[in-house]
């Protein structure tokens, strides 16, 4: 009976703030991409179809800008979270509880590739695996590139007061190509890595519920489990009551 209860013990992986921000990220990303892609591929049959489905170019422009404002919002919310995490909660801004890359991440990548090819075993991950850290930093790099170039395209007359006209052409290339990278990465790589791989198909609920079972914890993040198991305070904090 005790054994049974232990099996169903759950642990917090994402707090309410993480989950809420991720919800904003995914809805605003969906909003900007579905309203932006038809413009990038204007002239194709599917772009014409999608434009009709969304209610025309003007409506797409509104969806795109509203979603962009939401992106700016969660971007600021995240920076505020990091400031709170470091300055108020006095937590270390690096280390295994943060997505700051370490040498181990590069070793893990190499070991994982070898494992995929049938040589050796899969690497053991801590709280954030290297591909999860990459997800995070990809967004961290992409948001300023797409966001700033998007602002230039949104307010060209303001920015051309101190930038030459060619800056608008450059902003167009940056916005469009970086967005293609984001779409190609998030909808394929991120979706597979976290949601549609066999053991999670069709959706990994942890980012929505915030909870994982002890079995998942031990299996997926053995190093973090080891740190948690041996630290009564941390174990107590993370256990779902």
């Amino acid at each position: 009976m005790a054994e049974k209860r232990k099996e169903t013990t759950e642990y917090w992986r994402f707090n309410i703030y993480h989950r809420f921000v991720h919800f904003l990220v995914l809805t605003s990303f969906f909003g900007t991409t579905i309203s932006g892609l038809p413009l990038k591929y204007a002239g194709t049959a599917w772009a014409a179809w999608l434009t009709r489905m969304l209610g025309g170019v003007r409506v797409m422009g509104i969806i795109h800008r509203v979603s962009a404002v939401v992106i700016a919002l969660w971007c600021l919310m995240h920076l505020a979270y990091v400031a709170h995490y470091v300055l108020v909660r006095r937590r270390k801004p690096w280390g295994p509880d943060t997505p700051v890359p370490t040498v181990k991440d590069f070793r893990d990548l190499w070991q994982n590739l070898l494992y995929f090819l049938g040589r050796g075993s899969a690497p053991l991950f801590d709280r954030f695996a290297y591909f999860e850290k990459f997800d995070y930093w990809a967004v961290f790099w992409g948001v300023p590139i797409i966001g700033l170039s998007g602002l230039v395209l949104w307010f060209p007359n303001f920015f051309s007061r101190f930038l030459p006209g060619i800056a608008i052409n450059i902003a167009h290339i940056m916005h469009s190509d970086e967005a293609l990278l984001a779409v190609g990465f998030i909808y394929i790589v991120h979706m597979f890595n976290t949601h549609i791989r066999f053991d999670k198909f069709p959706l990994n609920p942890v980012i929505f519920t915030g909870k994982m079972t002890e079995a998942e914890f031990i299996h997926e993040r053995p190093l973090e489990w080891e740190r948690t198991r041996t630290d009564p305070q941390r174990l107590e904090d993370m256990r779902v009551r």
Binding site: P38, L39, K40, A42, G43, T44, A45, W46, A47, A48, W49, T51, R52, G56, V57, R58, N112, L113, Y115, F116, L117, G118, F131, F134, A138, L153, P156, N157, S160, R161, L163, P164, G165, I166, I168, N169, I170, H172, I173, M174, D177, E178, L180, L181, G184, F185, I188, V189, F192, N193, R197, F198, D199, F201, P202
Partner: protein, 277 residues
């Protein structure tokens, strides 16, 4: 298993919506005999914008009942009727348009190239006198761009890569087409910044000279060794485009390979366990 079939079904429905279908541009005459500029498809003519205009209004030298015809020299029939017609006749009903044309870049180029090679355009090269329909704004958007594009293909391509052209392709009626910036009859190349600002302000009243130096017809070409501003700008766009292309391709190539290998490994592990036979 049910989830897999459900996902495949949803994917199939989504893909069906993306199936390619032919672009619908204004239709061309089906009968090859009718492609000669000396033949008129009367049915199409009658339903065109000029359908109510009698032949002799424009072709005054055709007098019904007389034996004399306006083109006695048979060898002229091998030439395009458009190149032989005197389009100053149009000025009788469209005096403003003709006067505008007369002071525009097309008329200037035509006067300069008199008698040599392909003549620069006059009315009939852009407008079909017999078949032009009374276009809606939406039809006009694609029609104007196509028409100008027959002589200015590079400009058509760069226009369609620009937001103005993209919005027009997606059916946004307020999007600018060629003539909205360059003028319909008094066509201008808009090399003059002051003139360009005026053109932009027809739709964007707040535009300044710096915004107007934005290049609608941007070309990402490397033109090293030239100190011409346009060549430098094109070179700059070339390097920015190259940087982002390399970034996009390398990141996606790396992670797609990573994901594919991961998928194959987990499929292998799954089959080894025998869960799916």
């Amino acid at each position: 298993m049910r989830e897999i079939w459900l996902s495949l079904a949803i994917l199939a429905i989504l893909l069906a919506g993306c199936a390619p279908r032919p672009q619908t541009w204004p239709s061309q005459p089906e009968n090859p005999a009718l492609t000669s500029t000396w033949h008129i498809d009367v049915a199409r003519f009658l339903s065109s914008a000029h359908g109510g205009v009698a032949c002799e209004t424009c072709h005054a030298d055709i007098a019904v009942g007389e034996t004399s015809m306006p083109h006695p020299d048979v060898t002229r029939l091998t030439l395009s009727a458009t190149s032989l017609y005197d389009y100053s006749t149009c000025a009788r009903c469209h005096p403003q348009e003709y006067a505008d044309y007369d002071r525009g870049a097309h008329a200037a180029a035509r006067a300069q190239s008199e008698g040599e090679g392909e003549p620069s355009p006059t009315c009939g090269h852009c407008h079909s006198s017999h078949y032009a329909a009374a276009y809606t704004r939406a039809e006009l958007l694609s029609n104007v761009a196509e028409t100008c594009g027959t002589c200015h293909p590079e400009e058509l391509e760069s226009y369609r890569a620009d937001y103005h052209g993209k919005a027009a392709l997606l059916g946004y009626e307020q999007a600018a087409t060629c003539t909205d910036c360059h003028g319909a009859h008094a066509v201008s190349s808009l090399y003059d910044v002051g003139e360009t600002v005026q053109a932009c302000r027809r739709c964007h009243p707040e535009v300044n000279a710096s915004t107007a130096s934005y290049r609608v017809h941007a070309r990402e070409t490397l033109n090293a060794g030239s100190d011409d501003t346009r060549a430098q700008e094109s070179a700059l766009l070339f390097w920015v485009k190259l940087f982002f292309t390399v970034l996009v391709v390398s990141v996606l190539a790396f992670f797609y390979t990573h994901t594919l290998l991961w998928f194959l490994r987990s499929l292998h592990e799954r089959l080894k366990k025998g869960r799916h036979g």
